[in-house]
């Protein structure tokens, strides 16, 4: 298979030769290097920091601590203003930045860290979410200041005097009556582990500051506009003087979303007024953010024939030491636990809880894998109890297009049975292998706010300026293709500029599967705007009605006469110069408010797998994996398949072996030696992606966003195969060999 030329991504050509520039590759003249000293205590007062010896070491320029930022309104956040630029007088997790060494080179900075002495007065700590809910649990934060409509719409609902920073409730129908009247009630609890994003590129920011110019950050941020906003809140610098440039990003998966390292990097540059590079190691990125681990309690009321009557969901999420976007993760976990099913009576409760652990953060489909793990495991438990085929139980309850997951959310815009049907057809049935299935529906595509500009030069070359971040998903190639199509120009004529808040208009951020739809529409609108201007110029220049002009490759066709853009511009402007710019903006009012209701589209997934289990070791081998995504329309097939395959494989990690572990407040496996992510020899021998295209999404050509859904069904599909083929139902991820082996032994012993 060879990729059609039009699908080849220019970013890939740069990456495969090593030319592609990432933040870690940027070196500015006079640039200093910063390294962080991190807390060794899970929870403590800082009683003193002695940096004198470090300051005397060769190459060291400065050692900065909380005291250096005392004059600033330094506490920041996205939902709660709970996070200091750097620890002030207290640390709340092992790994929290306590001091910065800035030196002429990285080795000198690293070496000086050991010479800093920090005195701590330990406080009681709590690392487990359930323990943090206890009445006598130590409080991680005494006060909670919420920020309304700051980054996400709405605000968190913390419970003062507790560790609960989000307490979400939703109810529809008559849940209690439905449970009372049901033939069967199923009640289970499922655990999902704390897992690390492991983007190959660690977090890195190169920051510059001067009073006159303000800030320039070269960042790996997925949401440059959020970085601007937080820096504006901390330093009071006008947004126009906070420039965030994002080159290629070496993976993020949500770990570089919202705001992470930028405020501290900016703070160092602000203090020293010299360019500074703050580049973490991967081991430090592990201490920067991670997925919220969760316990999901499910109660389902079911009729004899398998009809789902009511569902009560209670999610408890471990949010770590700082809230970040945890409040949104909790809400999404509750929504995503419903499943793509017709359930008239719903009670959703979700709590996110502070603990003395690495801050929780967005991670590919926020709250989704935690929720779907529970819901889709329980569906097979229900099927088994009612002696129904698990596929049949799902079919009886799956939503039809136009029905609602939740009555206040947009009705579902796909036919769920289609994806599941395709998967069950495609999954091989081999002797000795057990099969399992799962489906999922998630509500992404948030924040329909983003603009783009398209500029066409006299030579016909086109520049797209959009603040979507090229993080590997291929967004620049998608936007280039859409601009080329809208202006009827060859794709080779289009360049998508590097993400830069100085030159491109506002975009909310890159995540939640939103860019193809929201920025895709913005680029189409911008190109159409430029196109209209070009046709108006042609009509004036060649003295014909606009209706007799159209855009063709390299110029305009006027009454069957081809005029180059150069000819048009030269005649119109009077000199051999000039360009035409178009702007396109997506707002909640776009298409008469069609983008207003959440979610913008439904991201759904269906998957099936066949596994073999070594009963002597408990090791699960996933042999075949079939994944289906209803994407509406494929814009770049290889990129779309790649997103789906990558998401599923990432899910294999939390399904089978990934878990960040804590003991006595200390993370015990926070290094890539001890923390295992999926390797090439663990990928299924047979992997198939099915992309369903009905042209029914809200994006360009009927496209829907994608790239997150495929991570959702992996764990329950595997656990369902294990239960179906080997008779053991495990409710705690990951399904490690030890856990599987013990369960198999217990089952054999009749325990």
């Amino acid at each position: 298979m060879t990729q059609p030329a039009a699908q080849i991504r220019r970013d890939s050509a740069e990456k495969v030769t090593g030319e592609a520039r990432f933040v870690t590759d940027i070196a500015l003249p006079g640039m200093l290097h910063a390294r962080l000293l991190r807390s060794t205590m899970p929870h403590a007062r800082i009683t003193g920091i002695d940096a004198a010896a470090a300051l005397d070491m060769p190459g060291v320029v400065a050692v900065l601590t909380g005291a250096d930022f005392a004059g600033l309104k330094h506490e920041w956040g996205l939902f709660l203003r709970d996070r200091p630029l750097i620890a002030i007088d207290r640390v709340r997790y092992v790994g929290e930045p306590v001091a910065v060494v800035v030196a002429e080179d990285e080795y000198s900075a690293e070496e000086a860290l050991d010479a800093i002495v920090v005195d701590y007065d330990p406080l009681p700590h709590v690392t487990d979410a359930e323990a943090a809910l206890a009445p006598d649990a130590p409080l991680v934060h005494e006060t909670m200041e919420t920020l309304k409509d700051f980054y996400f719409k709405g605000e968190a609902k913390p419970l003062p005097g507790t560790n609960i920073f989000q307490n979400y409730r939703y109810e529809c129908g008559d849940v209690d009556a439905a449970f009372a009247a049901a033939d069967h009630v199923f009640e289970d609890a499922y655990d999902f582990p704390m897992v690390f994003h492991y983007a190959m590129e660690p977090h890195c920011v190169v920051a510059e500051y001067s009073v006159r110019e303000g800030f320039t950050l070269h960042s790996c941020a997925q949401s440059p506009s959020a970085v601007q906003k937080v820096l504006h809140a901390i330093f009071g610098t006008p947004l126009s003087k906070i420039r965030v440039i994002v080159p290629y990003v070496g993976g993020g998966f949500g770990g570089k979303a919202s705001v992470k390292l930028d405020p501290l990097a900016a703070g160092i540059a602000w203090k020293l007024q010299r360019p500074v590079r703050l580049c973490l190691s991967v081991a430090e990125s592990m201490l920067t953010c991670r997925r919220l681990n969760a316990r999901v309690h499910l109660r389902s009321a079911v009729a004899k024939d398998g009809t789902l009557l009511a569902k009560a969901v209670r999610v408890v999420m471990n949010g770590g030491a700082y809230a970040d976007t945890g409040p949104a993760v909790a809400i999404k976990a509750a929504n995503r636990a419903i499943g793509p099913y017709r359930i008239p009576n719903l009670r959703l409760e979700a709590q996110a809880v502070y603990t003395n652990t690495v801050p929780g953060a967005a991670f590919r489909s926020i709250g989704g894998p935690q929720a779907v793990w529970a819901t889709e495991s329980q569906m097979d438990t229900i099927a088994e109890a009612l002696e129904l085929d698990p596929l049949e139980l799902r079919r009886r309850n799956l939503l039809r297009r136009g029905e609602t997951v939740r009555p206040d959310l947009r009705s579902i815009d796909v036919e769920m049975a289609e994806a599941l049907g395709e998967v069950s057809k495609a999954l091989p049935h081999r002797p000795g292998e057990a099969r399992g299935f799962a489906v999922a529906a998630s509500d992404p595509g948030i924040m329909p706010i983003g603009s783009a500009m398209v500029r066409l030069g006299i030579d016909g070359s086109i520049t797209v300026m959009a603040n979507s971040v090229e993080i590997g998903q291929g967004v620049r190639a998608v936007l280039a293709k859409l601009a080329a199509e809208a202006l009827n120009q060859p794709i080779a004529a289009v360049d998508v500029a590097e993400t830069d808040t100085l030159t491109a208009p506002f975009d909310w951020g890159t995540g939640a599967s939103r860019s193809t739809v929201i920025m895709g529409c913005a680029v189409q609108e911008a190109a159409a705007d430029a196109g209209r201007k070009l046709l108006a110029m042609a009509a004036t220049t060649y003295e014909v009605p606009e209706s007799e002009c159209r855009l063709v490759e390299g110029g305009v066709l006027v009454r069957n006469q081809h005029h180059t853009f150069r000819d048009l511009f030269h005649r119109y402007f009077g000199i051999d110069s000039g360009d035409v710019s178009g702007i396109g903006s997506i707002t909640p009012q776009y298409r008469n408010g069609a983008f207003l209701q959440a979610p913008l589209f439904w991201e759904t997934a269906a998957a099936g797998c066949s596994i073999s289990v070594d009963e002597d070791t408990g090791e699960i081998l996933v042999k075949d994996y079939v994944s289906a995504a209803d994407v509406g329309r494929v814009i770049n097939r290889l990129a779309a398949e790649g997103q789906d395959e990558g998401a599923a494989m990432q899910g294999l990690g939390h399904s089978l072996f990934e878990e960040l572990l804590y003991e006595d407040g200390q993370p015990v496996n926070a290094s890539m030696i001890d923390y295992h992510v999926p390797l090439i020899d663990e990928s299924p021998a047979h992997f198939e992606t099915i992309l369903i295209e009905n042209g029914d999404g809200p994006g360009p050509g009927g496209a829907r966003g994608m790239g997150e859904g495929a991570i959702l069904p992996v764990a329950p599909a595997i656990a369902n195969a294990l239960a179906a083929g080997h008779g053991v139902r495990i409710k705690h991820l990951p399904l490690t060999p030890e856990k599987v082996w013990r369960s198999l032994r217990a089952a054999k012993a009749g325990l």
Binding site: V16, G18, A20, A199, Y248, G251, G642, Q650, M672, F687
Partner: protein
């Protein structure tokens, strides 16, 4: 400081390095060869893979002085006269990369694989590339790209 004389992408280089300096830092910082990427720091992810006398080597865990007298090949040395080599082209054609951070290391490892095994089967490919992590692709298209070269 130590003298370091080695060939990098066919060109003889002589440098002064500190004894503690890592090969990756010398390549990236002194020679400007930033195509070699640093990720795990502990020789498990393969992002920094370069060839030292033809052997795939983690530049993040190799002292620069160990490369004295050796021939080092990095991702920048593969394309000739602006034309990608066949492994780079296969990765491009098969969509075997996304964010691209692991890609230079993968390409170098595949280079070594195909030098040592003319016709590797599926199991050999998977075994050989066990030391290279990719978080984006799920490996499916990487395996397809390598198979297309066999």
């Amino acid at each position: 400081m130590h003298d370091l004389a080695f060939a990098v992408n066919g060109e003889q280089r002589s440098l002064q390095v500190e004894p503690r300096e890592l090969l990756i830092d010398v390549l990236r910082n002194q020679l400007g060869l930033t195509g070699t990427k640093r990720s795990c720091d502990v020789q498990v992810c393969g992002a920094c893979t370069v060839l030292v006398d033809g052997q795939p080597t983690s530049a993040c865990s190799t002292l620069a002085v160990e490369a004295d007298g050796c021939a080092v090949q990095t991702i920048e040395g593969l394309a000739k006269d602006g034309r990608m080599d066949r492994i780079q082209q296969a990765f491009l054609d098969h969509g075997a990369l996304q964010c691209g951070f692991c890609t230079p290391g993968f390409v170098m490892a595949v280079h070594a694989l195909l030098t040592q095994h003319e016709k590797p089967d599926d199991a050999t490919i998977r075994h050989y590339l066990h030391g290279n992590i990719c978080r984006c692709t799920g490996y499916v298209k990487i395996i397809e790209a390598v198979k297309s070269l066999v």
